[in-house]
Amino acid sequence: MSVSTRPEVTSSATADSQRQSARVTRLYSRRSTLWWPPLVVFVILLGVAYLVALYYDKVVQLPYLIPYPHLVLKEFYGDPFFTPLLYADLLNTTQVALTGLACAIVIGVGWATLMSLAKWIERSLYPYAVILQCIPILALVPLIGSLFGYEFLSRVIVATIIAIFPMVSNTLFGLQSVDQSQRELFELQGAGKITTLTKLRFPAAMPSIFLGLRNAAGLSVIGAIVGDLFFQRGTPGLGVLIQVSTARLNGPGTFAAIIVASLLGIAVFLFFGWLARVVVGKWYDFG
């Protein structure tokens, strides 16, 4: 190697790292300015909630419809009957959602991989993915109940059906979005379909798969709760808890269960966003 080329190499590398550190600082300063506006909004919303609760308590005189926020908060730690129930049901719903998500991942990725192998397979199978997406799931739920019972299995099936479409479409999109010249690079080396799939298409599809995963995770929680609302038997989850609390005019309980369900949705969304950054964030910007 001639010495004359080194300055170009090193200087451009330092320029790159400088640009990168500049971006990092920008990111941090953006984050530090980002945390307080939502907090202000939260405080305002809390105030509004108290006002509405006061209105329902004193004017409408139905305090259980909109309970005071501190009463809702107490359900999370201080209700000897309700608090254990809340966490037990959260656990059940989480189990259903995660099992459904796992099924959606396995079936969805397998389905998309199969379709990516040949155009004719894609043409044969893709319409069914769309159809599955178009079926109003609520219309299907009673049938699933009568076919598979009203317990864990049916709940998981509902969660799977709701969560599967983003897995199929994102995986397929990712597998097909590989650069043509990269594919030709593999072709020139005589790489077979399987090698191309494992060494090129799958890694290249990872960012897209993770985006699908994040959406599917949120949907699987929705699916688990929808399933719960319909299937009252078996181990109950948050859906049942919300229904029962409403029926018993337990306002604070209803709100606590709704909040926990929302937090579960947010938690899985954040978790898979974080996982995506850990796995592919090194080489891919999720923006």
Binding site: M1, S2, T5, R6, E8, V9, S12, A13, A15, D16, S17, Q20, D179, S181, Q182, E184, L185, F186, E187, L188, Q189, G190, A191, T195, K199, L200, P203, A204, M206, V280, K282, W283, Y284
Partner: protein
Amino acid sequence: MLSMSTPALMKPSRSAASSGTLLDFRKVAMQFPNGTVALSGIDLTVNRGEFVTVVGPSGCGKSTLLRIASGLETASEGTAEVDTKRIGYVFQDATLLPWRTVQDNVELLAELGGVKPKERQAKAKEAIDLVGLGGFEKNLPRQLSGGMKMRTSLARSLTLEPELFLFDEPFGALDEITRERLNDELLRLFVEKQFAGLFITHSVSEAVYLSTKVVVMSGRPGSIVGTFDVPFPMPRDPDIRFTAEFAELVGEVSHALREGHS
């Protein structure tokens, strides 16, 4: 040995080897299924020790020429013979896999060819040093400049120890300074590794500077309108670019380009 897939229509002909011809196109024509005629009546040879550059306006089919040579496309007429399995191909962009480090990217082709890890690591290390990227083995492509990406791409092909090196406008997207530097690097590699080169470009001065022979193409359908031997010796002095002889040859080639274009 690293093996290239041998495309069906390019069975190596041993007869050509004796004369030192690595690539032999006779009356090659290319018509795409949609009716577009990309190439017609192309006669082109690349011998051992030659560095042939093809210049032509964009859309004249010069990339198609390269794709036929590599086996990515099959000529619809004529014979296209390539007398080696060791072909390097450098694409317009670096085509690095963004999730692989420089080291792993350079190892890729050997890996696909079934070379054992120890052996391909050594090959990659050697190629990385050869293109001046020593110390950047652990970097990801996103951390590299455009010129460094292209060097990585070159190193990747070098691991195949190619006898015939095909370049599809590899430096077209780079700035002038980086481009000239990489041209010098390429010439050094050419002298050192003694591969034969077929280089596509739309820059006339790059063509004259790099090659032993310049082929001028005109478009629609792509055909050869002129061939120029470049008399300057190898290894080439970078300052040759500022001599009158160099300017004169660039002028002649540019003239042929314009004639063919009108």
